[in-house]
Symmetry: C2
Subunit: 223 residues, 2 copies
Amino acid sequence: MASNNPAPPDSTRRSERSRRAIYDAAIALVVEIGYPKTTIEGIAARAGVGKQTIYRWWGSKAEVLLEAFLDLSEQAARTAAQEREEREDREGQEGRAGHESQGIPDTGDLAADLKFVLRATVDELHDPAFEAPSRALAAEGVVNEELGRRFVAKLLEPQLQLYVDRLRSAQEAGQVRPDIDPRIALELFVSPLAQRWLQYTGPITYTYTDTLVDYALNGLAPR
Amino acid sequence: MASNNPAPPDSTRRSERSRRAIYDAAIALVVEIGYPKTTIEGIAARAGVGKQTIYRWWGSKAEVLLEAFLDLSEQAARTAAQEREEREDREGQEGRAGHESQGIPDTGDLAADLKFVLRATVDELHDPAFEAPSRALAAEGVVNEELGRRFVAKLLEPQLQLYVDRLRSAQEAGQVRPDIDPRIALELFVSPLAQRWLQYTGPITYTYTDTLVDYALNGLAPR
């Protein structure tokens, strides 16, 4: 039986250590020298592994960086969620039942749920571990359409789909008009935050994202 | 009297030719080799002028590119406006009285005016002469905060202020709620378009920008 298992504990741990070293090296290089100059050779050298180790697991530097960044985003989301929980504990606020760091809660109160998730995004955008690499990759995506589209498809679009799901459930509950296209509607509060972050067009605060949600749900015209 | 005039016609024309050559060279270089590798020396060589000519008029490569890009944006806006007028003439539509290429019309119909200007922006974003340099500079702005903030202050914010003015006038006319902050409100329809362009998150069409205006003014919740 043991011979059928190609990854005994020691080897698994070694692989996991290599994988982590490769992720860290890839992120560090893209921050220090930018995406265009980052190479598989450079990542291998910095991670202290052979080039072939990287090629065994990934087909290109875009693949490595994509996975390294997915991993980093998950870490950043976990850290931000922990910090938020600690702050809420200190401030004596009640924890939000059923909250998962990557999902959108459905408490029945659409405005509150959207504000909660956007505040978590504000925390992530202010996380220094997340900021430099995500800026480096976002910048490359602006001028490199193929990379931009890959990162959106793998990283951004799955997150946006969570808003689509939440808005659909709000439509079923009669809180969003049935003729609204959720995929466009979510951009009314997600894109302003993205643009302020990408282009430094204004400060990023909880008050700001709360305001976006209120404006988007209630509209600018008098009711 | 003549001696008090330091720029007789011939010299003015020469200066104008040099200025144009420098703008063109700066834009071409930032598209071909990117912002970081573009230098004053490189711009001078390509424009066929001395380095000192550039330093006489501008303090840094950021200054040159900023002015070159402002000039390009004005050209792109003029071209897009002309093409739109020609298309409207062909389609037998009436010209919009009082429209200026860089301003926002105030016909009293806020939705129509916003849709009109956003359609013009869609045309600009699809203009190939405008796309490559504006992507190169936007990408650099994402990772270079100082440059990003300068371009926003000089280029983007003046355009956004036109929306602030139009929304204020709509508030006075009772078409926008008095408690709305126009500087945030404009982001509900401007930022989604910007993000789709910067990050390839979706197609950019007239139908899309029309929808953004309707959603922003009327809100997502039932009325």
